[in-house]
């Protein structure tokens, strides 16, 4: 180190300035503020509490506190017979509830070595995709509402009815279909359903276009989401994210394409959408594209719907043989799986539910660190979790 007189003086000045700075800092010791977002907050889709420590406008740390809506479904399934379980697990992700039943039923079918007839598989896939459309549509409308746009959420609620009416016409329940049975489906589709579903799919495509121009073309929306809450692909994978949130980070991973076991996704021609940016905007954008792609999947599967029975031959009293099975499907919110341990009884011995939102919000402490307070809402809305899916 070649120290000259000039630089020495500079050094001293630097030290003095530092000392003065530290003195000022001691005098103006800023205290962090703890801000509780939730448990009752519109941005939390239920009762999630986020304890955010703030330094001025910046978040130092944010911890999600969950369990306010814990209903103990894993334990409850141990005292319910297999047909009764689907009633309960409908209520995990209440916006796309048909999708919740499918992995459980598939896992039980795997254990019983029963295969659902093709018509049942097709209808299952169609309803699965319709629940994704309804879920993603409401998610986008809700995100816009949280970012200050009031209109899109009403349009989303209005247009979602077209899908929910179709689901109700075939299953009897708008939100809790309880339609899947081990070995097939409860009932076949009513006459005229294919035509009306195709009509509603056209309406959903219009809704997607309208939402795209209303929300994604809005400069305020773009400014509040572009470059906000960037999650790189490696981090997303490390935290176990899945679904549209992972594809929004540019990871091309979709269980519908990668392991279509038990569902008819390989029978349709469709595309997995990804976005390389990984910010709030890209997550919402992927969700919109998936909703539109879902309508095409439904259309194709309706065209190729095979005829035949919808129920395989299963005993009236269902006893699942001893064993363990794990089935994972790509639900609207991400990968959802059920691990069933059976002891050959009427009831499962143990059911482990892997729900997507639980893993998706694990990244909240990482992604909220250092962001500004208004961006919390944008990031949480773009992650799009549902509390029933977190707490179970």
């Amino acid at each position: 180190m070649t120290a000259t007189a000039g630089s020495e003086r500079e050094q001293l000045a630097y030290i003095a300035a530092k000392a003065a700075d530290s003195r000022v800092n001691v005098e103006l010791e800023t205290e962090g503020m703890t801000l509780n977002i939730g448990p009752q907050h519109p941005a939390t889709h239920g009762t999630l509490r986020i304890v955010a420590k703030l330094d001025g406008e910046q978040v130092i740390s944010a911890d999600p506190v969950m369990g306010y809506m814990h209903r103990g479904y894993e334990k409850l399934t141990e005292v319910r017979t297999y047909p009764q379980v689907t009633t309960l697990i409908n209520r995990i992700d209440w916006l796309g509830s048909f999708a919740n039943e499918v992995p459980f039923i598939l896992a039980a079918e795997k254990l019983m070595e029963v295969e659902a007839p093709p018509r049942a598989v097709w209808i299952r896939t169609i309803l699965f995709e319709m629940s994704r459309i309804a879920n993603n549509l409401l998610g986008l409308g809700d995100m816009a509402a949280q970012l200050g746009a009031v209109t899109p959420v009403f349009y989303a609620f209005r247009d979602r009815e077209y899908v929910l009416n179709q689901v109700e016409a075939v299953t009897g329940g708008r939100f809790h279909p309880n339609f899947d049975r081990i070995g097939g489906l409860k009932d076949d589709i009513p006459a005229g359903w294919i035509a009306s579903t195709k009509d509603s799919m056209i309406k959903m495509r219009q809704a997607a276009d309208e939402l795209e121009s209303l929300v994604f073309g809005n400069e305020i929306f773009t400014t509040r989401t572009r470059g906000i809450g960037i999650i790189p692909a490696e981090v997303a994978l490390e935290y176990g994210m899945s679904g549209s949130n992972l594809r929004g980070s540019g990871v091309d991973w979709d269980l519908r394409r990668d392991s279509p076991w038990g569902l008819a996704y390989d029978q349709a021609d469709w595309k997995v959408w990804t976005h390389p940016d990984g910010d709030s905007y890209s997550r919402a954008w992927v969700r919109l594209q998936e909703m539109r792609e879902g309508t095409y999947i439904v259309d194709q599967l309706l065209d190729s719907l095979p005829s035949g029975p919808v129920m395989a031959k299963v005993p009236r009293i269902i006893k699942v043989p001893e064993g363990e099975a794990w089935v994972e499907t790509e639900n609207p919110l991400g990968a959802m799986g059920y691990y069933i341990v059976s002891k050959g009884d009427l009831v499962p011995f143990r059911v482990k539910i892997r729900s997507a939102s639980f893993n998706n919000i694990a990244i909240v402490p990482w992604v909220l660190k250092g962001v500004y307070v208004p961006d919390i809402i944008s990031i949480l809305a773009s992650l799009y979790f549902i509390l029933g899916d977190i707490d179970r």
């Binding site: 009633t87 409908n90 009897g172 329940g173 076949d188 006459a191 121009s213 209303l214 400069e219």
Partner: protein, 179 residues
């Protein structure tokens, strides 16, 4: 990219939808009923018809029930209460043995607990339970949500006929029994 174009377009979409709601027949012919162009339904005055399969309320066809308790056992939250007794009915033919028959004393469904899953309707082997899309049975007191067999029987006339199935189906269309 300026601030204006996207916002103007969004306002345009909102205004177009608003105009369509208020003037469904064009701007020169205002419609007095506000719900014509709107998607919302003015509920107590006008009602939406639920679909045929909608799970609204469970109806009991009492003659078919044998008090076998299958529905009560399969109910996920055990909200069905059944009591029955056996009695000897007179023989059908002269000199025959008297027949043992089941009579229903009590058949209650507690709708404050019911999850509307439809398992009871599905497991009933004698076709005594049916879904009705009727939904207006809210009560000021929670205890009144316990429907007894007379009340459940009253729902029977609201049960719609089963729909025909889509082509390619092999399921058989069931019939609703008439009393």
């Amino acid at each position: 990219m300026g601030i204006v174009p996207g916002l103007i377009k969004g306002l345009g979409i909102t205004a177009k939808t608003g105009l369509k709601t208020v003037f469904p027949d064009g701007i020169k012919k205002p419609v007095p009923a506000p719900s014509r162009g709107a998607v919302t339904v003015q509920y107590p005055h006008e009602k939406e018809a639920p679909t045929n399969r909608a799970r609204g309320v469970i109806a009991l066809h009492e003659e078919n029930c044998t008090a076998c308790m299958l529905c009560a056992r399969e109910c996920p939250d055990w909200c069905i209460y059944i009591e029955g007794h056996k009695y000897l009915a007179p023989p059908r033919r002269e000199g025959g043995k008297p027949r043992s028959k089941n009579a229903l004393d009590r058949f209650d469904i507690d709708y404050s607990l019911c999850m509307y899953c439809g398992i009871c309707v599905e497991v009933c082997p004698f076709e005594a339970l049916f879904w009705s899309p009727e939904y207006e049975f809210s009560e000021p007191k929670i205890a009144d949500l316990l429907h007894d067999k007379e009340r459940l029987g009253e729902w029977m006339h609201t049960v719609p006929e089963f729909e025909a199935y889509e082509s390619g189906s092999e399921a058989k269309v069931k019939k609703v029994p008439t009393t």
